[in-house]
């Protein structure tokens, strides 16, 4: 009987455990080792070089630039995405005509590949024939019409952030909507009886009670923005002059374009560490503020 139980456990758990261990855990843990080497990924031999990779990272202009860009990108995306998402969720929580239609439209970009989204905006921002140019020409603003948003160091990062908000706002909105629907209607009624207006109802009833959705959205959007690769890679390739280089694309550049594998791995461990810290810190802080009812 006991043997049979063990057999069953083995049959059911072996495939998943084997694949997961080999392709998720082994690479993650062996990364720790490789980050202390100078391997280029091709040559058969490499040297252990201690913490030299990490020392080099902290003197590397590319690393600081991409870290700074990632922080700016994340801040913009997280703030705009969540403010807009919560705003539209509150609008769509009521019974308006066409509510279902608007919800589906807002959610639509979330199911489309980031590659298609990026190329769509490459087309729109195209300085030669893009819609951007057509639009500003039509209203007679010549200098704006000629502006190359993705190709200028001053705007490339913000243009990518805009596209990211465009793509993921609806997803965050749906999570807020799910949170709003758990708020009992009586709470609004009693707030109204106490003479609360629209804004005060939002501040004192809606916002505190939708706190768990805020928590999950802030964590998800911070982590995802920090890891961003696809959009940046297609929209700008990190350029011009690294003006939109984020950590995700910098790691790719270092490891797969200049073949500094050990150095790239060391960089990716720092990314992992930052993400772990952000999510733990955010979780702890936001949990404190959630309201029980």
């Amino acid at each position: 009987m006991k043997l049979r139980r063990a057999m069953n456990i083995f049959i059911f758990l072996a495939p998943a455990t084997f694949i997961y261990t080999l392709f998720v855990m082994v690479p993650s843990i062996s990364g720790l080792y490789y980050s202390f080497t100078d391997w280029d990924g091709i040559s058969p031999s490499f040297n252990l070089i201690g913490a030299a990779n990490f020392q080099e990272i902290f003197q590397d202009r590319l690393f600081y630039k991409s870290l700074r860009n990632s922080v700016i990108f994340t801040a913009i995306v997280v703030v705009f995405k969540n403010v807009l998402a919560l705003f539209f969720a509150v609008l769509l929580d009521r019974k308006l005509k066409l509510t279902g239609f608007f919800r589906s439209v807002f959610f639509l970009p979330a199911i489309i590949s980031a590659i298609v989204v990026a190329y769509t905006w490459v087309t729109i921002f195209n300085p030669v024939f893009g819609f951007w140019q057509v639009l500003f020409q039509a209203i007679g603003w010549e200098s704006a019409a000629k502006y190359d948003l993705l190709g200028s160091t001053a705007t490339s990062l913000y243009a990518v952030a805009f596209v990211s908000v465009w793509q993921t706002m609806g997803y965050a909105m749906v999570i807020y909507l799910a949170g709003l629907q758990t708020i009992p209607g009586e709470l609004y009624e009693s707030a109204e009886m106490d003479g609360a207006g629209r804004w005060r109802k939002f501040v004192h009833v809606t916002f505190p009670l939708v706190a768990p959705a805020v928590t999950i959205n802030l964590i998800l959007s911070t982590i995802n923005a920090f890891k961003e690769f696809d959009l940046v890679y297609i929209l700008t390739g990190g350029g011009p002059f690294d003006s939109s280089q984020v950590i995700g694309t910098a790691i790719y550049k270092v490891a797969f374009e200049t073949n500094q594998f050990g150095y790239g791995i060391a960089m990716s461990l720092i990314l992992f560490f930052i993400i772990a810290m952000i999510s733990l810190g955010q979780l702890w802080y936001l949990k404190k503020r959630e309201v029980e009812y």
Binding site: N8, I9, I11, L13, P15, A16, T17, I19, Y20, L22, F23, V24, M25, V26, P27, S28, S30, G31, G41, F88, L91, L96, V105, F106, F107, L108, I111, S113, I115, V116, Y119, T120, T123, I124, G130, F131, V134, W166, G170, Y171, A178, G179, R198, N217, I223, F226, F229, D230, Y233, I234, G248, A255, F261, G264, S268, L269, L271, F272, I275, A276
Partner: protein, 275 residues
């Protein structure tokens, strides 16, 4: 009061409509431009086509190898989804038996959700090279399954916990083995949760770019996403044909989304929302 209410309502409609336009217009442009003859596009990129044509689709499909890319995307997605669902559901079912160490085993799987892809991609590339399965669909599919297992195990685990024990016991009294119970009793009643995992995994794999970019080098093996990027990079782009190829990537997803909106939204948010 009633007047103020009306104004607010009107304002809400205006805001919602404008935002919908900002979301739909860029997507619509791609669709419309893909149906325009090349010359007409260069002369007037954003007008409605004077003569509609499917020629861009034909040339993307036949001359630019998108028939191959489409087939590759399909094979990679189908296989990854199948094995993620199969192995994920099996593992979560067994983790619900509450044997010694089952909780730790579950946590071990969840650990994978926290590790960002960049933190393992370089060593993964090296590992696949050493195993001799770099630049193969087989290797790529295994990696997709491994990456999608943690979330699918999390979702299945929550569902299996709600299945009453009596159901299982009754089946086993009738002489069903664990494998038989799982296959004949548990899987059929798990259809809703299976569709959730299928949508979540399928969408992730179909839309993915980063993993194929790193793990595949041979053009013949490329999925559509990678094919698009190569098409853009190598020639002076035939834009309408490029748009046609973009539509090929998104049309299956959009059609499915329109048909099963509820399942899509539930599937995509099931990692984030309880229940």
């Amino acid at each position: 009061m009633a007047v103020a209410d009306r104004i607010v309502r009107l304002l809400a409609y205006v805001l919602l409509s404008v935002t919908s336009l900002v979301i739909l217009y860029p997507i619509a442009i791609i669709f419309i431009s893909s149906l325009k003859p090349g010359k007409e596009f260069m002369a007037d990129p954003f007008g409605l086509p004077k003569s509609w044509t499917l020629q861009n689709y034909v040339s993307a499909w036949e001359n630019a190898e998108f028939s191959t890319y489409f087939g590759n995307s399909f094979v990679i997605t189908a296989a990854s989804v199948l094995f993620t669902v199969l192995f994920g559901s099996m593992a979560s079912y067994a983790l619900n038996w509450n044997f010694r160490g089952s909780r730790q085993w579950f946590s071990y799987f969840l650990l994978g959700i926290m590790i960002p892809i960049q933190a393992k991609i370089i060593t993964l590339f090296i590992l696949l090279k050493q195993l001799g399965i770099i630049n193969t669909h087989f290797g790529l599919i295994l990696v997709f399954v491994a990456f999608d297992l943690p979330l699918s195990i999390f979702i299945f685990f929550g569902f299996f916990k709600t299945i009453p024990m009596e159901l299982k016991d009754a089946a086993q009294l009738d002489g069903c083995s664990e494998v038989g119970t799982f296959w004949r009793i548990i899987m059929p009643i798990s259809r809703p949760i299976i569709s959730t995992v299928v949508i979540l995994t399928g969408l992730h794999v179909w839309n993915s770019f980063f993993l194929p970019l790193i793990l595949l080098q041979d053009r013949k093996l490329f999925p559509i996403t990678l094919g698009l990027q190569r098409l853009k990079g190598e020639f002076s782009v035939d834009w309408p044909m490029f748009f046609a190829a973009m539509v090929m990537l998104m049309i299956p997803i959009i059609v499915l989304f329109v048909l099963m909106q509820k399942q899509f939204i539930k599937g995509l948010t099931s990692g984030a929302v309880k229940g």
